[in-house]
Symmetry: C2
Subunit: 137 residues, 2 copies
DNA sequence: TTAAGTGCAAAATCTTTGCAAATGT
DNA sequence: ACATTTGCAAAGATTTTGCACTTAA
C-alpha cells in the first residue's frame, strides 16, 4: 500500500520526514531506536524525529518495544493494528551482538501462571540471542 | 541469612547505604527503580544509590529488569544467582496502574520459534496487568 | 487558508565521571 | 593502614517544551 496513504489514514499529514522514516521502518523488519534513525537521517532534526516516532506510535502505525538495555525502539506494524497504545501482540528478538530487534510475528504467545488476585492483560516478550548476521553457523 | 554477610560474600563492604537498600529489596518481593528508592531514602545521595545498585547487579546480589516504560528496576535474587550479568531466568509481572514489578519466580519459561539462522540464548518476559492492590475483584 | 508539522533554542531528566574526604575490615 | 565507598560538583546523554516559521491538504 502507498505509504502516504497509510499515514493519512491515521489522520497525519504525509510530510517528507514522516515518509522517510516510514519507508525505513516498513522495508526492514526491524525495530529501530531513535539513535539509529538519527544516524540514517543526519539532516533531520532530532526533535522532529522524536515527534514523528511518537505520532506514529500514538496512531498505531508503529509499535514501541523496549530492548534489554532499556532503549525504546519502534517497528512497523505488519498487520492491522488497533491504533493507540496497543500492547504488543507478538514477541521480539533482540540480538546481543548487533543489538538489532526483529519482530517475531508468528511466534505463539504462551500464557503464564500468575498469583491469585493478579490479572494479566498482555505480555511483552523479548527473546535474546544471536541474529543471522552475528550468530555462528 | 544476615544481610551484611550476603553483601560481604560478594566482595563488597557492608556499608549503611548498602544495608538499607538491601533490606528493602529483600523484604518486599518487588523490583524497585532508582527513583523509587531515592524517594524512600531521601537523605541518600543520588549517585551513591546508582553505584549501590550497579554494584549489587554486577555481583549478582540483585538482578536488573527493564519495565514497559524503559525504566531500569532491580530486584533481590530469591535463589542462588550466578553473579555477573545473568539473564533473568524468570518472568516478571508489571502492574499497569501502580507500575510495580513483581518477580514470578515459579512461572515456567516457554521456548519460542525463532527464524532459521537465529540462536536464542535467553528471554526477558514481562507479563502486564493489574496487581492485587490495583486490580478489581 | 489554516490547522498541523518543523526547526531551533532552551529546559528538564537521567546517568556517568573525577576527585577529595570518610569508612569498613 | 589501605583499599573501598561516599558525597559533591560537574559533565554527558536523553527527552521534552515553547514558539515563530513553514507546509500539506
Amino acid at each position: 500500500m502507498d505509504l502516504s496513504q497509510q499515514i493519512r489514514e491515521r489522520g497525519l499529514k504525509a510530510t517528507p520526514s514522516r515518509l522517510s522514516v516510514m519507508k525505513v521502518l516498513e522495508s526492514k523488519r526491524q525495530a529501530y531506536a531513535h539513535a539509529d534513525l538519527e544516524s540514517i537521517f543526519i539532516d533531520m532534526d532530532r526533535v522532529t524525529l522524536y515527534r514523528v516516532l511518537n505520532d506514529f506510535e500514538e496512531t498505531g502505525l508503529v509499535h514501541k518495544v523496549i530492548d534489554m538495555d532499556g532503549v525504546t525502539r519502534f517497528a512497523h506494524c505488519g498487520h492491522s493494528c488497533p491504533g493507540g497504545h496497543h500492547a504488543d501482540a507478538h514477541a521480539h528478538f533482540n540480538c546481543q551482538v548487533c543489538h538489532k530487534m526483529y519482530c517475531l510475528e508468528n511466534a505463539p504467545i504462551p500464557s503464564f501462571d500468575i498469583p491469585k488476585g493478579f490479572m494479566a492483560t498482555g505480555q511483552n516478550i523479548l527473546v535474546l540471542g544471536l541474529c543471522k548476521n552475528c550468530g555462528a553457523a
